[in-house]
């Protein structure tokens, strides 16, 4: 197979060579434990502090508010379970949305089983949270609102500042899962009144296995992992030094080229998106056209199923993703696509393309050409398309 066209950057990204170069010395040279007092340990300790500063600066937080975790999922678990544990005496009600990542939804379900009440706020047809519904859902016993910064499937960016203001006014903790947002759009935790924020390095050309939870100074959340004194006794375990260094390097790189990268990727995204709309009939763009991550494209193609489409794309060297049931491992298609009101059969035929700055216009042209060919082939096999065409001709 020739070079793969990688269009699944919301799943994970290729690590930047600069990031790898910064990490390498922390495996074999400066391999000391950052908690050790000798020089080798202190070199590692300084490197993690530098990374902490870079990352804190990127989201306008303080460096002592950054807690490293094993990834975004752990950070989401900690934020929700930790907030309920620390503030459960105040109330047992939390609010989230119908389009969260499973790291939030399944944690919320777990908490519901532990006696917490969970309200799931709906979204409009573009996937934007309904603020009036959010306001109505707030009760005296509400302790937490958790809303994803930008959706992983349809790329919709939420009105985070407005949500933060609502939460602040009511004295409710505000958590946001910013795993897809960090490094793609500017984030300011102070301006948006964010109390807790989850992020992950591998979504922005950093390494896998390292994430973070931003915990605003003064929050009472207790330790999530018990053990040593690392991360101010809140998240024990020897620091993943190369991972943290890589996370810092990835954030630094992403922030340095953010405006340039945003412009470049947005233009390519719009080119690809418009070309698909123009050249492939019976398709629908999912998610907001404007309030959207620069790299995200999500379409539903009528009369076909997403997994078959993905395998055929893979055979042609294109890596993408779908919200069909067959790819979600359940009988239902993506909960996000159902939440924006798509009928099941339309949700089954979805395709997510998430770009990076290395994708080219030539690749976009190949993607459209290949999609056209595959979709026609699958439609020619589809009884739904057969019935549709017969009805058209009658």
């Amino acid at each position: 197979m020739s070079k793969v066209i990688y269009a699944d950057n919301a799943a994970t990204t290729k690590m930047a060579p600069e990031v790898l170069a910064e990490m390498l010395p922390y495996f074999t040279e400066n391999y000391g434990n950052p908690n050790s007092i000798y020089g080798l340990g202190q070199k590692a300790s300084q490197a993690t502090m530098k990374a902490r500063e870079i990352i804190a600066g990127a989201i306008n937080a303080e460096k002592n508010e950054i807690y490293f975790t094993a990834g975004g999922t752990e950070a989401d678990n900690w934020a929700l379970k930790g907030a309920c544990e620390a503030y459960g005496a105040k109330g047992k009600h939390i609010i989230t949305t119908t389009i969260e990542h499973h790291a939030i939804l399944h944690t919320a379900k777990y908490l519901a089983g532990k006696g917490y009440q969970v309200s799931y706020i709906g979204v409009d047809e573009n996937g934007i949270i309904r603020l009036d519904e959010l306001k109505k859902a707030i009760r005296a016993e509400t302790i937490l609102i958790s809303v994803c910064y930008a959706n992983n499937e349809i790329g919709t960016i939420q009105p985070i500042k407005e949500i933060g203001e609502i939460a602040k006014e009511k004295g409710i903790l505000f958590h946001t899962d910013a795993v897809q947002a960090l490094g793609q759009i500017p984030i300011d935790v102070k301006e948006c009144h964010i109390d807790m924020l989850s992020a992950s390095a591998h979504k922005l050309n950093g390494p896998k296995g390292i994430g973070l939870l931003y915990l605003r100074e003064g929050l009472k959340l207790g330790p999530f992992i018990h053990g040593g004194a690392q991360e101010k006794k809140r998240r024990a375990g020897t620091l993943n030094v190369p991972g943290i260094v890589g996370f810092g390097a990835a954030v630094k790189l992403a922030m340095a080229k953010l405006p340039e990268k945003t412009k470049k990727v947005t233009e390519l995204r719009d080119y690809l998106l418009e070309k698909i709309l123009a050249e492939i009939p019976y398709c629908r763009l999912n998610g907001d056209r404007v309030k959207r991550l620069p790299n995200n494209i999500n379409f539903s193609f009528q009369f076909i199923e997403g997994e078959a489409l993905l395998i055929m794309l893979d055979l042609k060297g294109i890596a993408a993703s779908s919200g069909s049931a067959c790819t979600s491992g359940s009988l239902d298609p993506s909960h996000v696509l159902l939440a924006i009101g798509l009928p099941h059969e339309i949700a089954h035929g979805s395709l997510r393309l998430t770009l990076n700055e290395e994708n080219t216009y030539a690749e976009a042209d190949i993607i459209v050409m290949t999609l056209k060919e595959i979709i026609q082939k699958l439609r020619n096999m589809s009884p739904l398309y057969e019935d549709f065409i017969k009805n058209l001709n009658e």
Binding site: F303, A308, I311, S324, A325, H344, M381
Partner: protein, 137 residues
């Protein structure tokens, strides 16, 4: 994830299409679940299946099971076609991933729905054949 046989049938599906004035037509599955299979049978006066075509809306496994099932019934008698069960389809494909086994069930159901259609039209009985479930919306 898929065996070579599944990939072969998925990439080069056999007998895709329609049969005009088919002797038997069966459509099973449900668009909500993301699987619909339609089988067309051309059955001659000696009750031999001369031809079989399919149309399927579904995943790779659904398309591959449809394709292999058409091959398995062509040239068969009605009673022989009854032996094309989900187990037989699975074996012919060297197996499917656990979560895809239901696709093979759909192939059996689609063939039987088409046989039922033929039996109804011709007022005959086929040993062991029951009325198909109507789970189409």
């Amino acid at each position: 994830m898929y065996t070579d046989k599944v990939m072969d049938h998925f990439e080069n599906p056999r007998n895709v299409g329609e049969i005009l004035n088919a002797s038997g037509l069966g459509t099973v599955g449900n668009p909500k679940c993301g699987d619909i299979m339609r089988i067309y049978l051309d059955i001659d006066e000696n009750q031999i299946i001369k031809d079989c075509k399919f149309k399927t809306f579904g995943c790779g496994a659904a398309i591959a099971t449809s394709s292999v099932a058409t091959e398995m019934v062509i040239g068969k008698t009605l009673n022989e076609a009854m032996l094309v069960t989900n187990k037989a389809v699975l074996e012919a494909l060297d197996g499917l991933p656990e979560e895809k086994v239901h696709c093979s069930l759909l192939a059996e159901e689609a063939i039987r729905a088409a046989l039922w259609d033929y039996a109804e039209k011709n007022n005959i009985k086929i040993e062991g054949l029951k009325k198909p479930k109507a789970d189409l919306e």
